[in-house]
């Protein structure tokens, strides 16, 4: 315990101050975003005075900015697109990765070792070198400017398979043998024995996959052209380049509508988030 003995109070105060200032830095941009979103255009760009809150009482604030932002950026459709893509990708890719991970961890497979190593090598490849032909391929398949292009290439991932394999390998063989004696097929073993025993890892991978899909920008920018197929990041980028509207308050209202759900979801699930990501780093 003496190693963690309390330092003198000035040091403790300094450490607290430092950390709190850093934490405040994390919040200030979002607070400013919310504040701007409720101002009038004139207020927002009033350089004479720095107003932290919009003028007037709460009912005077320009709540209409939100209505305008929602309508102009067609956020309803954009949300739906993002949600469809992220949910489908998460469910299917976690399932596929877990199945392949099970095969690599516990099943007989011709050339298992060399295939596994080859797969690990693909994890090192930067997307800059393969996105070109992935795009051309999507063109041949008729996926360009279609949500398919955001789903099909992501139905499995080398990282996901690797991560699932590392977790499944810790499941006891005795448990699997017992299931086998009971006459379970490989798939039933996977479903009833393996999956329930690696729930935390599955949760972590699901969160990771969902976030990656929800926030992906480069690939949608490459393959999606029409606004009706935009996902959130594309829509934000279009907003920030002033495609729909030049008004900062309306833009910030849109930014709030886009970031707020993520913030709320994160705060609700933060335990799983943080533990899951810590778990990911541990395996990596």
């Amino acid at each position: 315990m003496s190693a963690w003995s309390k330092p003198a109070w000035p040091i403790r105060a300094a450490v607290h101050a430092f950390v709190y200032i850093l934490a405040a830095t994390m919040l200030v941009p979002f607070a400013w975003m919310c504040s701007t979103s409720l101002k009038t255009d004139a207020e927002a760009i009033d350089v004479q005075q720095l107003a932290l809150l919009p003028a007037g009482s709460v009912s005077d604030w320009k709540w209409g900015n939100y209505v305008e932002a929602w309508r102009l950026a067609e956020l309803g459709d954009v949300y739906l697109n993002s949600l469809i893509v992220a949910v489908v990708v998460t469910v299917l890719s976690v399932l596929h990765n877990a199945l392949a991970g099970f095969a690599f961890a516990k099943l007989r497979m011709t050339a298992k070792r060399s295939v596994f190593i080859a797969m690990l090598l693909t994890m090192m490849l930067p997307y800059q070198v393969y996105f070109l032909f992935a795009y051309i391929l999507c063109g041949w398949l008729g996926y360009v400017d279609h949500l398919h292009a955001l789903i099909v290439p992501f139905l499995a991932s080398a990282f996901g398979i690797f991560y699932m394999r590392q977790s499944i390998i810790t499941v006891s063989d005795g448990l699997l043998d017992a299931g086998r004696v009971d006459g379970l097929t490989n798939f039933e073993l996977f479903w009833h024995v393996v999956l329930p025993s690696i729930k935390p890892a599955v949760g972590a991978l699901a969160i990771f996959t969902f976030m990656a899909s929800w926030n992906n920008f480069f690939w949608p920018l490459i393959v999606i052209d029409s606004q009706e197929n935009f996902t959130l990041p594309l829509s934000v980028a279009a907003l920030s380049s002033g495609l729909y509207v030049q008004s900062w308050p309306v833009q910030m209202a849109a930014a709030t509508l886009i970031t707020l759900p993520t913030i709320v979801v994160f705060i609700i699930f933060q335990r799983i988030f943080v533990q899951g990501l810590a778990l990911t780093g541990m395996k990596g």
Binding site: S2, M124, Y130, A134, F273, G281
Partner: protein
Amino acid sequence: MSVRSSTSGWAFAAFPLAVIVVFTALPTVAGVALSFFEWTGGNRPNFIGIENYRAAILHDPQLIHSLRNTLIFGVATVPITVILAFVLAVALKAEWFVGKTTVRTIIFLPFVISIVAIGFVWRWVLDPHSGLLNMGLESIAADRMFADWPVPWLGDSPWALGTMCFVHVWRNLGFCVVLYLAALSRVPRSLYDAAGVDGAGSWQATWRIAWPAVRPMTLFVVITSSIWSLQVFDLVWVMTGGAEQPWTDVLNTHLYREFAANRLGYAATIGVLVLIITAVITVAQLRWLRGSTEAAS
């Protein structure tokens, strides 16, 4: 192979592996091959040998700028991220720290928000005329400290590169803090207790015990954040509006522009350069950190 089975594992692994082969492995091979061709996507590709590489090194100043900026990005952000994340994790681990969970939540927050949205919000905060930062600086009369006021935080100047490095660190810090928190909680108590016998204070415990003990995590954080800085695109694209500028372009924005201009062979060449840099940096860091671990033990 403890489970004896009639169905091969291939029944489960075939489809997932096919996805990786079709959308990652084969396109990589084709991409490397394409870097030796000139192709606009229409007619047949035209084989030109190493001409793309020659052009990249000799006749593309913007590529050299973007390479320089990308390297500055990595050199500036990786050490800052690692040190800050470790120090924060140690502080949040200390028994006397007040508000651990709240601070951890707040610091992690930017990591879950899309980089595009983050770039967008920061653009407003950093707006030269009506942004919070410049207005705040003016209100405390700090603007007199700058030669060129208002500071173009995101214009074409070294400021912009610094600004984007800052936002990059700001966004990724929380993730690394959480990784270090996990690593620190796996450091056995006995290590500290042994040091406690020698009368080590908490400063020494941090740097003599905890820091070496979390070295494997440091390796992971260094490699991950180096790769992040090589892959940076979203942030730069949104914060600069995709403008082609010597002080803000990075490899990926340059690559995207070449792709969008249908110079596919040349775009592939830049992709291969990124691949080579990634491989060199990863191998070098693995060697260096492994080597210094052995030297320490």
